[in-house]
């Protein structure tokens, strides 16, 4: 269960609306079921009361919405940011993608968000209701007479199991207690892939990427992908395409995208969350982050605004291309 409640968030948002600090609130809107929340703009206490939710399924990272929504807001826009969202927030600020003056950021604690597919894998599908009860989720389904109790920690999203930080790196106001940067195991899976032979690794990615339907959800949800016109959408770019050209062509799209966000990706994990085909896209980005850490020293995109990212910052200590080449050879 989240430490902060829906009621506390509504009270905070209503207060900031009524005292004129903000004119709109970007929050989680109630869905048809207990797990399908939609990012929603609220303008009044009444709207918040009717439609605002906060529960274990509020995983969406709102930072990217600031690019489009903050520009349109009349006054300031209130945005609730979980710790991981604040890294994207800073990264977008570094890239001058939204006007900081138009945003009022409230940092909120996060206990990790649940992955509905993991819930269904335990409860069976046909979900009738899901309610948090302490450290558990109580699930009722259309098929079981008795409610099913599931430990929330057993159904956390991958990115939350490997949470990198409970600390907020940006906010105007913080609700609840500040957390710490965590020693996460997020690179373990990358290390496992690195340990594979080249053929095994190829087979792994072929299996994963061959499922791609080229819906672009990963790109469109990604806070690091904010080009106004993506080359892949531009008929004049020569590389525009709307569908996979063959069963494994997608390696091009995904690898090009991973290169494009390298050094800027904060590892928020939205790409994997939104993928309708469950492709672990975050592993491509983490490989880049792990390499950057090993090549240039520990670096976390979004930790600070205006930090010099290693890939755009030359120092005489930078490693030589030959060293990278040798390293690749040894891992083949």
């Amino acid at each position: 269960m989240q430490k902060i409640t829906r009621e506390q968030l509504i009270a905070k948002a209503s207060e900031l609306l009524s005292n004129g600090t903000v004119s709109q609130v970007l929050g989680w809107g109630k869905g048809e079921f207990d797990y399908d929340v939609t990012p929603t703009l609220f303008s009044s206490a009444e709207e918040l009361e009717n439609g605002f939710v906060f529960n274990d399924f509020c995983g969406a990272n709102f930072s990217k919405y600031l690019v489009s929504k903050a520009a349109k807001a009349d006054g300031k826009l209130l945005v609730f940011l979980k710790p991981c969202d604040t890294y994207s927030f800073n990264q977008l600020l570094t890239e001058h993608r939204f006007d900081r003056e138009k945003v009022y950021a409230v940092g909120i604690p996060c206990e990790g968000m649940a992955d509905i597919s993991k819930v269904k894998a335990i409860s069976g599908d046909g979900i009738a209701s899901i309610n948090a009860d302490g450290d558990n989720l109580v699930v009722t389904t259309l098929y079981e007479d008795a409610p099913i109790t599931i430990a929330t920690k057993d159904v956390l999203a991958e990115r939350c199991i490997n949470c990198k930080s409970k600390k907020h790196v940006a906010y105007d106001e913080l609700m609840g207690e500040e957390g710490e940067v965590l020693a996460s195991n997020r690179f373990d899976e990358v290390a496992r892939l690195e340990a594979m032979t080249a053929d095994e690794r190829f087979a792994f990615w072929q299996n994963e990427l061959s499922r791609c339907i080229r819906c672009n959800a990963c790109r469109d949800a990604c806070p690091a992908c904010t080009c106004e016109k993506c080359v892949f959408d531009n008929p004049n770019s020569g590389v525009e395409n709307k569908s996979p050209a063959n069963e494994f062509e997608e390696k091009l799209f995904h690898i090009i995208r991973a290169y494009h966000v390298a050094g800027r990706c904060t590892d928020c994990g939205e790409c994997s969350r939104v993928c309708p085909q469950n492709i672990p896209l975050h592993l491509l980005n983490r490989k880049f982050i792990k390499d950057i850490n090993e090549f240039y020293g520990e670096y976390q995109a979004g930790e600070e605004v205006d930090s010099r990212a290693p890939l755009v910052n030359y120092t005489t200590e930078d490693l030589e291309p030959g060293e990278v080449f040798d390293r690749g050879d040894n891992n083949a």
């Binding site: 809107g29 869905g31 048809e32 079921f33 399908d36 929340v37 939609t38 990012p39 929603t40 703009l41 969406a60 919405y65 597919s117 894998a121 599908d125 046909g126 979900i127 009738a128 259309l142 098929y143 299996n207 994963e208 499922r211 339907i213 080229r214 819906c215 672009n216 959800a217 790109r219 469109d220 949800a221 016109k229 959408d233 531009n234 008929p235 525009e240 395409n241 709307k242 569908s243 996979p244 050209a245 969350r273 939104v274 309708p276 085909q277 469950n278 492709i279």
Partner: protein
Amino acid sequence: MRKCSLEKINEIFAAIAKNAALYLPVDRTDGSAAYKKWEEGTVWSNALNTVRSPKDFFFPQTEDLMRFKTKGKTVQLEDIRTEAEAFVVFGVRACDVKSFDILDRVFLTEPADSFYANRRNHGVIVSLACTRPVETCFCKTFGIDPSAPAGDISAWKTESDIFFEANTEKGKALLHTLSELTEECDDGAVAEQKAKINAVMEKLPLKDLSTKGFGGGKTAELFDAPEWDELSSACLGCGTCTFVCPTCQCYDIKDFNTGNGVIRFRCWDSCMYSDFTKMAHGNNRLTQKERFRQRFMHKLVYYPENNDGLFSCVGCGRCLAKCPISMNIVKVMKKIGGNKGE
């Protein structure tokens, strides 16, 4: 009606696969299911639905239409059409079977799409009644009975047996090839199964969703509804809903210059994309709101207007399950039209 023990299901599959390519839902490594070609050892999935719909069999995401080469002032055309393979799609749910009717009206109306028609003529659909509808299902809204799926052959699965009923000549011919593996039976067990499914349908959260307020002639009323702003506000503009949808049928035709001639191909397009229906003068839908509205107006107003009131949604629930921001046709139907306020 004929039946066969589920213990012999692999013999059924082997018998079908002897004469035609057989495709059926198979569990994947990521926990969901997809249609795969059957071969000895393939295990049939119990999943209610596949991520991608079976429309792919008739209308694949991408296909080459023709090749041509220019030489001086002449253009050499190469017709690359071939006869489609004979194939059977097994285990198609009632909602997805209905989607073929919707696609047929688009692709088989004269001038018929010969690529689509070719596959349609060579494909046999063996449907399967649902055993476990879920919360995202709303096929009944569109008059579909999940316990009585259409198709060339309808099938029902119980704990122990599978039952078949042929509906078309193609279906009869296929079922005839299975006569040694199946036996004639009455429809008692199937009737019982149907009752079970229909009892679950009564418990579904979306069972009362209605199409009232939508349909032909509603353009003027719904096009400028103020609710479109709010509904489309969070839309990312990705193509997930359109690409997992069994009835989305829009495509783009493009030329690929191979350096030695041109391949003209078509691929699915998505009304959510910024260059959808781009024309010489530019683009006629400049905002995501307009693109978002297009999808739902097409399914709920324009299509029925041109197709005797038939809606172009089958309530399969894929978009409900897959939209990254959980915005979908159900939420649209509840905000505008006749479900307003319910």
